[in-house]
Structures are given as structure tokens and as C-alpha cells.
């Protein structure tokens, strides 16, 4: 069994568009960038613009109650909400998750709010830094909280990497399922935004707007749902120029598997300098629809490719056409995949 035999049974999302996959789908279909707001720099005035598209406050019905979630940060709350939505979308009772469930969690920045807060306390006075906060700074804290919430005591792992590391996780999930380690796998990629990460993005480009959220996909070898019929990559690169040079190859390999009308979900940010190579690479064929979630939602870093996959799943269900997802990545490798209804 490989990734082609895996079905995406259910999806869930939290994004700057709201606390559901449907809200994200609707916003991205509308195609207009969501409003952004200046990011406050604590105790200081920034001398350059820095904006973010934060996720809105949680609606009351999305607040999950559990002892582990009392002091967990936004990334965990987004992840739990997305996972519960994915379970419900797959027809499971979220209050009684299926047995044999595993969790693969992907992130790039992780628990930045608590990490920044804890390190600030350390710099101020290490002897008074909070012991409650430190454990929440660890990369795998969100995965641990989600596992505790769902009662998953088997395979639970966290991967770090570029936004498109979700594809490595997808491949791993297929292996976990095929080997019998798990029956179903919850794939979650999430990120929370703070002033430090929002500023960090502006160093890549002044107009890059930070965002946050979580995408969750419930994967299984059986049942209904779109499948990842082709996975192209990793095409590794060691520089931005190499990245630009290999994107035509990424597109060419992907399009070889495609016939008939299809939807493209790309990585476009709306900033020509960052986008032009990708747009050129995929311009060789007509597309029924082209969706650009980052342009609408903002740059949600580790969560962004998961949000693309969630969106792709919804698009495949709705159009009954193949969906191509372009994930050129930022600093290590490029991926693409084809979702088939």
C-alpha cells in the first residue's frame, strides 16, 4: 500500500476565515484577501509595517473542554477544533473517536506565544520564570494535548519542517496504516502567530502577511473520500534559484498524470517576486478553477499546505474533478499532488 490507496475521509480547518473548513472554502472561492491588522510590538514602536490575519475568536460551540486545554495556547485549540471537525466530517462521533487512531502533527514554528513569553521571563529573571509555561513551549506539546483529548495512546508523532512537510507526514501515515500500526490517522498541521513570527515574515518580503490556523485530515485505507492519486516530490533544492529552476519539472511531472478539466490550488501570495516562478510553471494548461488560499488567508507557515489539502478535498468533492495542489515550499524541497474524487 502507498499513499494512492489512502482515502481522505474527513477534513477540518481553522483559519483567518473562521472556525470551519466551509468558512475557509467560501472565503477562498470569493478570492478577496481577508482584512489584516497591524501586529502590536510589545513595549515598543515598530518602524516598518507588519500586519497579520489572525484567526477570529473561537465561537462558543468550538471551545473544547478538557483539563489539558485549560492553559494550552492557540495552536492546540485550533488543532483540537480542526480534528473534531474532521472526525465529524468522516461520520464519527467526535465524542467517541475510532479505535486504532494515530496522530501525525506537522509544524514549522510551533508554540511561539508561550515560547516568546517564557524566554522573555527568563531574560527578565530566570528565578521567576514560570514552570507552567515551559512544557507548553515544547514542539510536541500540541500533539500530546490532542492525543490526550482524543484518548489516543498509540502512535503520535510531531514532524518539523517547511509548510509542505505535510506530504512527508502523508506518506508516513500511509505507511502507518499499511503496516497495521494504526487503522486511521489524523494528520494535523497547525501554527499560531505572534509578533515575532509576523515580523520574521516581513524579512522575507515586506508585504508578506502572517496568518495562523490548523488543517486536519482523517486518513483511512477504506471508506469514501478523495484520494491522493499522485504525489510528486520531494524535488530538493538548496537555494531559491534552484527552487525556481525546478518548478517547471514539478509541474511537468504532475501534469503527466492529468487529463481533462481540473482545479489548481497554488501557493500564490500575491507578491510577484515570490510567486512568478510558480505561476509560470503551472501556466502551460487551462484550469477550470485556480484557487490561491495564501492570497486570501495569509501566510500560515506550517499550516498552509494542510489548508491547501483541506481545500483540495472540498473542491474534489464539489467538482468531482481532479485537483492539483502545488506546494513549492520555502527552503528545502518542492512537492505537488493530485487529489482524485
Amino acid at each position: 500500500m502507498n499513499v494512492r490507496d489512502i482515502r481522505i475521509r474527513g477534513v477540518g480547518a481553522v483559519s483567518s476565515a473562521g472556525w470551519s473548513a466551509a468558512a475557509m472554502h467560501e472565503a477562498v472561492l470569493a478570492g478577496t484577501p481577508l482584512p489584516s491588522a497591524p501586529v502590536v510590538r510589545p513595549g515598543d514602536v515598530r518602524t516598518w509595517p507588519c500586519e497579520s490575519r489572525f484567526a477570529p475568536a473561537s465561537p462558543p460551540e468550538k471551545i473544547a473542554r478538557h483539563p489539558r486545554l485549560r492553559r494550552s495556547s492557540a495552536i492546540t485549540r485550533y488543532s483540537v477544533a480542526a480534528a473534531l471537525e474532521a472526525l465529524a466530517d468522516a461520520g464519527h462521533d467526535p465524542a467517541a473517536p475510532p479505535s486504532g487512531l494515530g496522530i501525525l502533527f506537522v509544524m514549522m514554528n510551533g508554540c511561539v506565544n508561550y515560547t516568546g513569553r517564557f524566554f522573555h521571563e527568563v531574560l527578565q529573571n530566570p528565578a521567576q520564570a514560570s514552570p507552567l509555561i515551559f512544557p507548553e513551549t515544547v514542539f510536541n506539546a500540541p500533539a500530546s494535548h490532542v492525543a490526550s483529548f482524543l484518548g489516543v495512546d498509540g502512535a503520535v508523532s510531531t514532524l518539523l519542517g517547511s509548510p509542505n512537510s505535510i506530504m512527508e507526514a502523508l506518506d508516513t501515515a500511509a505507511f502507518w496504516i499499511s503496516s497495521g500500526l494504526v487503522e486511521q490517522c489524523m494528520l494535523i498541521a497547525a501554527e499560531e502567530c505572534d509578533w515575532l513570527s509576523a515580523e520574521g515574515l516581513t524579512y522575507y518580503h515586506p508585504k508578506l502577511t502572517a496568518s495562523e490556523g490548523a488543517g486536519a485530515l482523517l486518513l483511512s485505507a477504506s471508506g469514501d473520500g478523495p484520494r491522493v492519486s499522485e504525489m510528486i516530490g520531494p524535488l530538493a533544492y538548496l537555494s531559491w534559484q534552484e527552487r525556481c529552476d525546478l518548478l517547471p519539472e514539478l509541474a511537468s511531472q504532475t501534469l503527466a498524470h492529468l487529463q481533462g478539466p481540473a482545479t489548481l490550488i497554488n501557493d500564490r501570495t500575491g507578491i510577484h517576486k515570490l510567486d512568478h516562478a510558480e505561476i509560470a510553471a503551472w501556466s502551460g494548461r487551462p484550469w477550470d478553477t485556480v484557487l490561491s488560499p495564501k492570497y486570501v488567508l495569509g501566510e500560515s507557515m506550517g499550516a498552509s499546505s494542510a489548508l491547501q489539502l483541506v481545500l483540495g478535498t472540498l473542491a474534489a468533492r464539489q467538482t468531482q474533478q481532479p485537483v492539483v495542489i502545488s506546494m513549492p515550499g520555502t527552503n528545502t524541497a518542492a512537492y505537488a499532488c493530485v487529489l482524485t474524487p
Partner: protein, 407 residues
Amino acid sequence: MPFPLPQSIAITGAGIVSPLGRGWQANEQSLAADRTAFKPVELFDTREFISKTAGVVDLPTENLFQRIPAHKQVYFDRGTRMLLMAIREALAQAGREDMEGIDAMVIGTSAGAMSLGESYFEHARHDAGRDPAQLSRAEHYQPQRQMSSIATEFGWRGPVIIVSNACASGANAIGWGAEMIRSGRAKRVLAGGYDALARLVFAGFDTLHALAPSGIPRPFDAQRDGLALGEGAAVMLLEAEDVRQSAALGNVAGYATATDLHHLTQPDPAGKAAIRTMTAACAQAGVTPAQIGYINSHGTGTPFNDAAEAAAIAAWAGDAVATIPVSSTKSSMGHLLGGAGAVEAVICLMALQGQWLPASLNVREVDPAVRFDLVRQFRRSTLDYALTNSFGFGGTNATLVLQRRSA
């Protein structure tokens, strides 16, 4: 939970950098001499911390990255440099100069390039204006960027999977690497883990009062009072038998992982998840507890961990418990966090190769919960299988079973 596919995976190269030394030989000599490696931390200010010492790696001063300009070396984290050294040793041991033919790297880390993140934070806090150097700090803080630099050093372009399961990261990375080969998804995988000392992490363990005030960890001592932190890296070159080109040093015979849901930072007192991983890893390896000739325990030296692990080993081993030699090499080098599982797996491999057992040092009075054979001095032995446990924050447990191999 077990990975159910039976097939041993050959280890054809191993590299290790630890506070006890750089390389296999230096570590073996230190372990044979029952040496400890704790010294005052000078990487950051420890005056306000309860503990002021750790297992610190003595890194060489010369540029380790030969293909990257000297002025960019400042952006390579200590942990990445240790990992590069370990990779070079593993490749050399397998008779290789490069990474050609290696299908994937699977690397575990708990903190990544944390020191660069700290530097980014401090510059952001102090400078209201734009500082162009922040781009490099933000970029190189990302562990995948650090791994990309290692790939550049070898001109290698393959997938890099970075596992971050806290203190079980390194063991999980080796387990995953082995399973990638077992399942046929790869033929050769470079797998291991690393972490370097960082101020934020040191402060974190200090706030939890998890560090031994004396700076001396005493795993399985009745009056143990905490762990010591350390840093290091280790990797193994894992190969499928049908492509193996050099002598095998040993096998990865079994691996299992499970999640302890008891608490974010404290283990279940009965060690239930540990029992499951030890049982499943041995089942995959096809061995009974009585056949395990050595356990390199997680053995941090904290009251909770050691009690839970001792209980788990007793429950898992049953009647065989008294005959199973166990030690914690964290007693000599500290807790290497994301690097611990990989370093301790390589130590198991060294023990299998050399037919010896490393010691649990600094024990004054053995904890009454200990029912196994606690190895308190380096000793010669005869063993065919060694088991190593790794338990992490968040409840990730991992067990590896390694097998001796003569050729």
C-alpha cells in the same frame, strides 16, 4: 504499538558526539573508565539557575562546513555541527565519503537550532528598527534549514524528515528509519538525533526543579534529586541486506512507540506505555526479556521517571528481571534530550560490539524499586541483544532493540 513487520535492518555505520568525547573510540574509552563529563556551563549566564553545570561537548574551533563560506558558519547551531561530525563518522565507518545512494535522512531533535531563535528574539526585543541580519537568524532557526546545510555539504538532495517528540526524538528517528527500510520504502536511511544546550531549555528544566542542584545526576539512587542536561548527536547508517556494501555492526531488530496520556511532563507511575513499547519491540525482534543482555534505560535521575521505569521493567521482565543488567549512561554525560535516544542507541551498539556494559555512576544507595541488575561499574559481559528506552515530554515513549552481529 508494534510495527508488525519482522526483518532485521543492518547498521553499517555509526557516529557519536557526546560530552564524553567526539567519536566512537573516545566514547568507548570514557565509558570503560567510568568517567563523567560535567562541567560549568559557559555558553550562557547560569548565575540565576539552581544548577550551573552540564555535559558540554568540546567542539573543534575550525570550520566544519567545507562547502559553505566561513562568514556563514555563525548561522550553524552547535547541534548541527555535532550532527555533521556524527554523520561524517558514520559514513566513514561504512566506507563512504558522501551520501550518494542514501534514500532519506530521519533526524530527531527537541530544540532544533534554539540558540538562533534566542538570538532572533533578543535582537527583536532590543532593536525597534529593521535589522537585515534578522532574516538569516529567522531562516537558520528552522531545523530543516540547518539540515539543508548538511545536505549541501554532501551535495545530496533527498528527503529529510525531522521528528520532534521531545526526549524520544532520536530513538523514534532511528525506529522510523528502520521501518522505512522494513516496509520497502527505502533501502538506505541515515537516522539519528541531536540537541545542543540552549539557555531557554536549561531555564525550563531549572524552573521545573528537574535539575540536580549538585549538578550530579544519580539515576536509580534512593536519594536522587534530578537530572543534568547535556548535548550531543548520534546517527546510524541503516541498510537493507540486499544493498549492504560494508560489514554490519549490528541490527535494528525491534522498535515500538506508544503514548503515555498520564500528564504532559510526568510519566504514568506504573509505566504502562513503557511496558507496551518494551513488549512490542521485543515481539518484533523475536526475543524474550530473558534474552536481553543489557538495557540502556531512559534513567534521567528524576524521582518520577526512575520509579516509573523501574516498575515498568519489573512488570515487563517478570521472573527474568533480576538477571537483566540495566544502567543509565545519562549518569555520565547528562540528558541529551532529542539526541539522547540516538546516542544511547549507539552506546548499545558499542556494548554489543565490545561485549561490555556501561555503568550507572554516582549511585550511593540503590532505590528499593530497583529489582534488576543495576550496573554500577563498567564490566565485561556476553550479550546478543540490547534494549534502549526513551521517554519524552508529551508522553512519547519509544523502545529500540539492537542485535549483535559478527559480520
